[in-house]
Symmetry: D2
Subunit: 325 residues, 4 copies
């Protein structure tokens, strides 16, 4: 029996962030967030979390200003790179094939761009470095010891992007080109406020929201999220952040959408916002109907309980809600 | 482009349990575990958890003795029923096509049997009943109010089966016929103690363990598991169970395999064991290498910390470790 | 050896609240907060929490408008009633001796008033009613089953009062007349914003804060607090409140002062604010130096992390920050 | 008005433990338990927890074999040292007055011995050293940063002693000489299995249990307990202990007596048992009736849920249940 082939994305791989203060950003992500370092070059550091096997889930690169360089995604099968190349170019997207250089642990990869301007990368082949004896978990199904340092996040979870464009066509582009499924969205008379999409049973591997009316930069990253197993761990994270002299950005609280228990914190080296989160729910139903929240439900969708506003930042180097992509 | 077609199972659907004391079992699963009732017939009750959309994730049926009747699984696409029918019969398995009768909310389904004797059922079409206003969650992505009653489990998670046969051929049968992936296993010189397999990013949708040496019944159910969002919720569950006059069977504790934080409790109406659990981890890597725990790691694999033995039961109606399938 | 005698308060007993909608207030405190009912009259209901032995820790009384009638305190020894009577009258306070009537379970008691106008009551003798078999905990050191209903608070914790008067003389009055110890306070150039005082190792059995500049009513209750064992229990409380159709007032979050993890919710029948809280710390040092937070520390003192503002209420029956005493 | 004077103990101060492997014990208490070091001499290390103001709550002293040297207690008022001296000598106890030497931060203190042979010490005057800037909490009511290292216990909680003597006379001795109040006890036909006593609202500042029938050493320490704010923190502690290569001794689980959520772990340098615990309840009632658990309640009293046995230790240096006093 033969069948129509669909290439698939298996998972979010990594976010590549540029920071104007690499030392401070590294302190934040390594000592406070608790990511482990797997590789370094002159101007880049590669990090991953305790449960992660791949080369990295975060790249920090020194640069003039804070921005999201790109988000990488792992495809399900080696042949899916070619499969996506075909679909993307047939749909009129420009795709660049990048040869493996192994500095970042990736084999061949595809570089592409969303209509919103956000840059993505697809890969299959990736190095999975081991862990030094002293840091290795006693558990055979885990890389680093639990609670090795700082907040001790378990894995990358999702990325949330902001655009000045209408979001609905972006969501459709993600569905038609990359196989994302829309899971929840907020629809108002003024347009779609945002959508949460995934390729896995997570409610979102990617969120894509409408930027505020005063925003002029077309593509931004709202936040990068890391997972903890328990809401209680997020509360501990809030203590650690404040003890480190950092004022949390928003939270803790619970979103209606995705039911995530969240804490938002900003890297003091770059202003990049990080979500420390837990709970939420999983979607196993193959015929899941996207949950529509109307204008009258939007407040509940964004905040079931907890704070509804971000703490204002006055530092000129830190834009108030997002960092540029 | 064409491609080799593989039917897929999307998720665990439900466990169908027979109980000699339907009233007491219903009290346990409804009032204590906190499942909601969606339908009743003269000798059966259908239940589901707060996050579940399908008609039921548990059937309780009155009968002479406690046993697992069968476990049902939802396939990913409607055509996967035919796809599995083809593969299963080509591989020499007997498959019975059952017409929809809608009492249980299912459309057409397939009945089959594992070599171990455990009975399975595959379906795609299923009713998704609504919820009465008074019980409905304010959240649009959830059916019933959170914490509506008792422990308030969120969803079914997995089933764990015991066999007197060698487990390795059973694991292979599940892989070759139903597309399960082996995620972790314990391998000793005396054979494979057990394996944890899944069709989703959960570490296991099904566990299949070797029965103890004195066991003569070939096929048993070790436990049926329900999910809670936090380890703290499992501790609250332990309080509720004891306040209800039930002595927990084992736990709380943490398995090395799957990193599940567990509490085992037995339905006083039937002796069926239920696992209340949280934490654990998800597998998104498409090339996950099954984790092998050797004989020297077996103790850690079974219990990272917490109790290692079940509380002995003296009630003649309750077998000590498992109920028959 | 003889010694200067000091009468002592042993503990907070109860808050007596008047509500314009007794049915709705009773629903809130019984079904949602989870207090148990010990007695009822035509216009009053007496309630207590699972861990409490005394007749009640809350009185709800039907009345024209929401107000705090009085707060009662248990003295350490029977003779302390006379001891306090002597001290209070020597210090020029009016004290009324109330004969036991047993409707409220109290023996003889003293009625008095703070200079701020808040009314207090002192008692020693109190009924300790039993619990019906069905509701009784299996634990011999606890009255009702844990998690019997709703949020399931464990015990009353403290009361927080607001005054338009300078707070410092009020704190001194509490210290000199009733033996309260000042544990923490916020001191600004404009005066003392508030103080937290206790007669037990809790950081506060009573908080006494300066009302906002627009406030004209001299004596108000800011909130009444109930204890839960874990921060995770407070998060569950937030779910329950929202599922019951109530918008939380503020939180969850963590105060710097007292390190309390808090959630504020208002009784929809009266507007009385309730704090659901956990964590915090205990003071065993007999020579504890009151912790002074200056103007520059006030933000941290009030909120270590979490929200800093109350949700505005538009209901005319509900004053925005406090209910009158 | 004059009054009969009673000296009072305000709180547990510290446990002084002797260890045959000071380096390993220090690693355990500093890096894993998370106590901070305040002073060192050639053969002693002084430690305290994040919330503690006094010079130390634990002394580790190098010695030939593991033993509890003594437990120190802070009296409520300076004159209580003389008050206790009078009572103790009048009751026929030998009391040694020790001059301050300030190595251990204590002023004048009293040395005495229980009839069971356990050694106690009373003090009032004590140094309260500050904290280096880098380690200091942002909170003015706390010494060290929260979650500074390891498990990060918050404060010492209680000590649990074992005796081969009848326990009832020991409990009476504690009540008559030192003002302890009996809070809960287990009474069987064979005698009193144990009692939990306190001078504070904690259910026990000291537990005193009957040693097993094979025990010949008259006085032992069963465990020393440290407090955490949440049950979830105790679960994290279990992870940390196992990741450090230590097998927990018992737990997690919940005692019926005191409702403590517990995890027992043994210092690998000495075999001294430490309880990491949370939850429990407070007693504010001045007329608390001691809770009696009969023989038929003893199992529930010891374990409401969780494990009931200690993990056997085979190391010759580690006695199986207790270390000698």
């Amino acid at each position: 029996m033969t069948f129509q082939y669909h290439p698939e994305i298996a998972k979010l791989g990594a976010a590549h962030l540029v920071t104007p203060d690499l030392d401070k950003s590294l302190w934040f992500f390594h000592e406070i967030i608790g990511l482990e370092i797997t590789a370094r070059t002159e101007n880049k550091v590669y990090l991953r979390a305790a449960m992660e096997h791949e080369h990295h889930s975060l790249v920090l690169e020194a640069g003039d200003r804070a921005r999201l360089d790109h988000v990488s995604w792992r495809v399900r099968r080696p042949e899916d790179l070619e499969g996506f190349h075909t679909i993307l170019t047939e749909n009129g997207n420009e795709v660049l094939v990048e040869a493996p250089n192994r500095e970042d642990g990736y084999g061949e990869s595809l570089r592409l761009q969303m209509p919103s301007g956000h840059k993505l990368r697809l890969y299959y082949d990736v190095d999975k470095p081991g862990v030094a004896e002293a840091d290795r978990s006693v558990l055979l199904n885990q890389r680093y010891k639990s609670w090795n340092r700082g907040i001790g996040v378990r894995r990358i979870d999702h990325v949330n992007l902001w655009t000045t464009h209408d979001t609905e066509p972006q969501h459709e582009w993600l569905t038609q080109n990359l196989g994302f499924k829309l899971r929840e969205y907020i629809q108002t008379p003024a347009g779609r406020l945002g959508g949460w999409l995934s390729v896995t049973p997570l409610v979102h591997d990617m969120g894509l929201m409408k930027a505020g009316p005063l925003e002029t930069t077309p593509a931004r990253m709202h936040h990068l999220a890391f997972w903890l197993d328990n809401a209680a761990d997020v509360l501990r994270a809030a203590d650690i952040v404040v003890e480190a002299g950092i004022k949390p950005d928003m939270g803790p609280g619970k979103h209606g959408v995705s039911q995530a228990f969240f804490l938002y914190v900003r890297d003091p080296g770059s202003g990049h916002r990080v979500e420390i989160f837990s709970n939420g729910y999983l979607i196993f139903d193959p015929d899941w109907e996207p949950v529509e929240w109307g204008a009258e439900d939007a407040a509940l969708a964004l905040t079931m309980w907890g704070p509804t506003d971000y703490v204002p930042h006055t530092d000129d180097n830190i834009m108030n809600t997002t960092t540029e992509a």
